[in-house]
Symmetry: C2
Subunit: 213 residues, 2 copies
């Protein structure tokens, strides 16, 4: 059975999962979950994933959740091309770069959090952009430095890794929050390279079946 | 050279790193970084880790950052006893449980965030507890269900994994924020078991050299 990705076109965690699937060359179907209408808490979706969290990936008879765990699964179950380099030290560097994004940025900017800070009085778009931009800049400053140390075309070395799976959706999100990307030339160079790469192109939010027209 | 952990006694990410080191039976020294006084931005620490983030682990001639990447490194470089089970499916389940905590809770409750929501007007302890409790409860509801599916003494199976490395510090944090743990009997049972386990005992914040007296 072909894998089925339950995700949302504009969510960064769904986007990074799509990049992983595309880099592995895996054919998959999509079952959109509209986070804006709370479809992740619908009875149908909760039957699949009682946690009510997207993305969820049906693959190999399993239902996998949490995008970083899904990317690691894809790399273990479908080793070619690798999303992590060989060697424990290099893998630790790549995972640390991925987690600068995964643990440091989207948890603070996602729909759930933006709603919560709205309740605290941050109502307008400018305020929400400033909130999001603060965490994006903190993460991007760290990443720009790490890419300078380890990158050679991509975040780490000469091929895309899970760090790039995380970075590219975060750049997309940064643009939505009107973050100035001028201070991050290395991040912008990777973003340009990804824009020309078939796997990243196919995973882009605008190309998804549930994208706003 | 013996590994050196640069961390803070009460930080959940330092605590989970200590549990990993203790479970692996690795001797290590500690170099405390007092997050309350901003020591993570001191010149001395920035020379070690220009990102200004604790924990950082000096090990095997490397400086590793990001606690989840460090735990994965420990498991790859020091395979016994394993912190992840064999098999891609089981590993994905454990990593997903770990990430329910790692990506879902501390990023929203750490010192950095508590300062930020203070600026938004959440000044008093009750308000901060309510904010933290909201995300802790969301994560613990998911985890309680997942432990019911996969646990057998620990979060997943019969031995501690990276999921337990993440859970136990989160329970400690939940108590500080006065979260009611009554609805989570499976989590409480694992917490009790950890309290009797030498590795978890040695990693406890109260046992660290920089702990408040």
């Amino acid at each position: 059975m072909v894998p089925v990705l339950h995700g949302y076109w504009r969510s960064g965690t769904s986007y990074r999962t799509r990049i992983g699937l595309e880099l592995k060359g895996l054919a998959y179907e999509q079952a959109p979950v509209d986070l804006r209408t709370g479809a992740q808490r619908s009875e149908a979706f909760l039957r699949l994933n009682p946690q009510g969290l997207a993305p969820a990936l049906e693959i190999d008879g399993l239902v996998l959740t949490q995008s970083m765990a899904i990317l690691e699964y894809l790399d273990e179950a479908y080793p070619e091309p690798p999303l992590l380099p060989p060697g424990a030290a290099a893998r630790a560097q790549v995972r640390a770069m991925a987690d600068v994004v995964a643990c440091g940025i989207p948890p603070l900017n996602n729909l759930r959090l933006l709603k919560a800070i709205k309740e605290l009085g941050v109502q307008d778009q400018a305020g929400q952009n400033a909130w999001a931009g603060r965490w994006i800049n903190a993460g991007f400053e760290a990443l720009e430095r790490l890419i300078g140390q380890h990158g050679s075309g991509w975040c780490w070395g000469e091929a895309p890794t899970i760090a790039d799976c995380c970075l590219i959706p975060q750049v997309y999100s940064a643009r939505r929050f009107e973050v100035d990307l001028e201070p991050y030339p290395l991040i912008r160079a990777i973003d340009l390279r990804a824009a020309a790469h078939p796997a990243f192109q196919a995973a882009h939010p605008d190309r998804q079946p549930d994208a706003d027209q």
